[in-house]
């Protein structure tokens, strides 16, 4: 296993020992209790709500992990100076950075996988418990595999957020990094409004600025197909591929920028 791999495994070990994975327990408990409580509501609507809740929770939990571990990935090592001994070993700075990134990605993948499995389990239970006549009214089965497309795009979104958090972590303190990463995420989600904003205001300068920001800030809204998937709307393959390509390219861009900044740094 290469040097990057070893660093990545180490990051994963750290997240396990920092008990990050306890959030999975919280998630599972949340989902199961919610499904039980919502079961008291009108029949038929509860599956949609569980699907909405499940997907949103996967997204939020993943986001929290991505940001709050991501911002410390590099900063902690520099601050605590553990990076001194590490960089004296035969490892390049970029390899270190990539190792950190893939370590967090590994943590996230496992988290999302477990959450998705729990999610489908709850849905399978609901599917089994609901009488067939009500089930027929559902736009899609409870355990609709198409939802995995939404999960895949959520995962992609998390990869990008992680990269951005890592980027800020190479030069900024955790608090600032968290703020900036969240700001980018929020702006990215309201990207649609930015684009339309340009069409409705009169000042050409402001419109140009809005449009510029729209193109530069990652378009996180594009990764959000939760609504479509819950309503059993088809997601064209072309859309998935294009969005994935966009996401991957952006990740590469951010990681490269982070590597450039990191390789020029003095560690005081």
């Amino acid at each position: 296993m290469s040097v990057i791999g070893h660093v990545a495994v180490n990051v994963f070990k750290e997240s396990v020992r920092d008990k990050i994975l306890y959030n999975l327990v919280v998630f599972a408990v949340l989902l199961i209790s919610a499904s039980y409580l919502i079961g008291e509501l009108t029949a038929g609507q509860d599956v949609k709500i569980i699907k909405d809740l499940g997907l949103a929770s996967i997204s939020i939990f993943g986001l929290l992990i991505a940001i709050f571990i991501g911002i410390g990935l590099v900063w902690k090592e520099v601050e605590k100076r553990s990076i001194y001994t590490l960089l004296a070993k035969p490892i390049r700075r970029q390899e270190f950075l990539l190792g950190k990134y893939f370590g967090l990605v590994l943590t996230l993948v496992i988290n999302v996988a477990v959450m998705t499995a729990a999610f489908y389990l709850v849905l399978a239970y609901m599917q089994a418990e609901t009488p067939p006549n009500i089930r027929a009214a559902w736009p899609a089965p409870a355990t609709d595999p198409a939802m995995l497309k939404a999960v895949a795009l959520i995962m992609l979104e998390l990869l990008l957020v992680t990269a951005i958090a890592l980027f800020f972590s190479t030069f900024s303190s955790p608090f600032l990094s968290a703020m900036m990463t969240m700001a980018v995420w929020v702006i990215g989600h309201f990207n649609q409004d930015l684009r339309d904003y340009g069409a409705t205001i009169s000042s050409p300068v402001a419109a140009a600025l809005a449009k510029g920001v729209y193109y530069v800030v990652p378009n996180f809204a594009a990764f959000d197909v939760k609504l479509q998937v819950v309503h059993a709307q088809a997601i064209p393959l072309r859309y998935l591929l294009l969005t994935s390509l966009y996401g991957a390219t952006y990740v590469a861009l951010v990681l490269l920028a982070a590597a450039i900044i990191f390789s020029r740094r003095d560690f005081k």
Partner: protein, 299 residues
Amino acid sequence: MKVHPAAWAALAALFAAVIGLQLLQTREQPLGLPAGVSTNLLYVRSPDFARRAALSFHALLADIYWIRTVQHYGGTKLSTGANKQYDILYPLLDLTTSLDPYFDVAYKFGSVFLAEEYPSGAGRPDQAIAILKKGLQAQPQKWEIAQELGFVYYWWLADYDNAAMWFNRAADMTKAPDWLRPLAAVTLAQGGNRTSSRTLWTEIERTADADWLRDQATFRLKQLDAMDGIDFVERIVQQYRARTGMFPTSWADLIRAGLLRGVPPDPTGTPFRLDPATGSVSLDPASSLNPLPNREHPL
């Protein structure tokens, strides 16, 4: 440490790629949504829920919904689709004003564009009235809202009794301007009189603090001027008929008869149309003042 020039080149290339893909992506969005599901612009349907969910960020969320309201209106108005609907204009305004009951411009916008006839507006004066009444609940002494209510009844519903009632109520409110009381009186007495309309619109044009509102008022005033102009020219046509026993065949006849100095234009400069058969005068179809408010409708 010097960064390898290849790294900078790669950075630039990736940046360009990202923007390019974003452009491509833009064309793919938005994904189609099933019928009957309101667009995710709303996020929530219930204003109550929205208020609670917003925690302490009501005002900000109200702003966001306001931006979406304007976009929805603008986007729908500019779109070339056959069956465009302003279907979520009212819900959006309702959400905006629920989150921020003091969002005055939202009420004004609603009163104008909810009531405005389709395709320039939603064509739903009832929704406009609902929004305005809601505004009064939050600000019972805001005379502007009461005046807007009077206006909707007056202009769109030709309900002069209700209009006058609201103008009167507005006049009773704090800091109400002086012209509201006489306006109420005139409305009651003369209903669809052009004078009262002109008073209203003049006042709106004078006090409007948003371009779109002022432009609306100016436009209406020009229409009223056009209607005055039409009346005037029609009287001249009658004079001609009285003299010659016939309707004029063209403007030239009237000019030769010394009754007109030149071809009469409407306030935008477009010449009026003369119908030789009936002697009636109307706007040129190309005039931007079309369609004039109905002669039987508030005038």
